[in-house]
């Protein structure tokens, strides 16, 4: 019986933008709700060893980025030498869903909860889709 790998969720968690706070919050909540997903701290791709760099090879990855610089997606490509199975970008969710841009980069405000929920819904959908394909 083939054991399916867990799905890797990699959040940019960018400190410089409020969207980074959303990517972090939504990703972490999903990690606490599902047992078929795992994560790695993105900066470990550079700071860690081969085991960390192989994370994306061993686990099909979904990246959750705050902005169009897509650090998490690029990190997977650069260090894992594979493409992410899905790339979610918070600024695109804000635009498509006509959400207000989150104001605080240090905390989740009550008006940001809808954006967090929407991001979680998309992550869950993508995890299910990637699992189906694997």
């Amino acid at each position: 019986m083939k054991i399916k790998p867990k799905i890797g969720l990699i959040s940019c968690s960018g400190e410089g933008l409020s969207e980074g706070m959303i990517s972090r919050e939504a990703t972490r909540r999903i990690l606490e709700q599902r047992d078929d997903v795992v994560t790695i701290c993105l900066p470990l791709f550079l700071a860690g060893g081969q085991e960390e760099r192989d994370f994306a090879k061993n686990n099909p990855c979904i990246t959750i980025d705050g902005c169009d610089k897509i650090c998490a997606a690029k990190g997977v490509e650069m260090y894992g030498k594979v493409d992410p199975k899905s790339s979610i970008v918070i600024s695109e969710i804000v635009e498509k869903g006509k959400h207000s841009r989150p104001k605080s980069k240090s905390r989740i405000e009550s008006e940001d909860q809808k954006l967090v929920q929407e991001t979680m819904r998309i992550i869950n959908r993508e995890v299910d889709r990637v699992k189906e394909e694997e």
């Binding site: 400190e15 701290c41 610089k69 990190g75």
Partner: protein, 134 residues
């Protein structure tokens, strides 16, 4: 006569998503940049260093950097060192916890009152170094 641009200390937390200590690094950074030393300190998204963003690499080479790391992997410090940034200080949350053993942080999503106290103590250490550099 050329005027030398004054350097601005950059505070760089690891923002690790796996443990509460990562969340404390992030909170400590915002206490410094938003409350203790606003306008004289700055922060960057650490993932931009991980993906070797040229503008971010230039910034950490031109300005003093203070890193805050949550765990022994020391991702923030290693990312700055890898790019030959001006590392002026590195605070480890595990050391701050050793100095304050009664303080028990909460979770990644909610560091709790003790986590907040640890973040504040960390921020004061960072601000002291940053104050000397600015």
């Amino acid at each position: 006569m050329s005027v030398k641009k004054k350097s601005k200390p950059i505070i760089i937390p690891c923002s690790g998503i796996g443990k509460a200590v990562g969340a404390i690094t992030r909170r400590a950074t915002y206490i410094v940049t938003d409350e203790l030393l606003p306008s004289v300190t700055d922060s960057i998204c650490l993932p931009l260093l991980t993906i070797q963003d040229k503008e971010t690499v230039r910034k950490i080479r031109e300005n003093p950097c203070i890193t805050i790391d949550g765990c022994v992997a020391q991702c923030a410090k290693k990312n700055v060192e890898h790019h030959h940034g001006k590392l002026k200080g590195n605070i480890k949350i595990l050391d701050v916890m050793k100095e304050n053993q009664k303080l028990k942080p909460g979770t990644v999503l909610d560091i709790g009152p003790d986590g907040e106290k640890l973040a504040r103590k960390t921020a004061e250490k960072v601000a002291k170094i940053a104050g000397d550099e600015s």
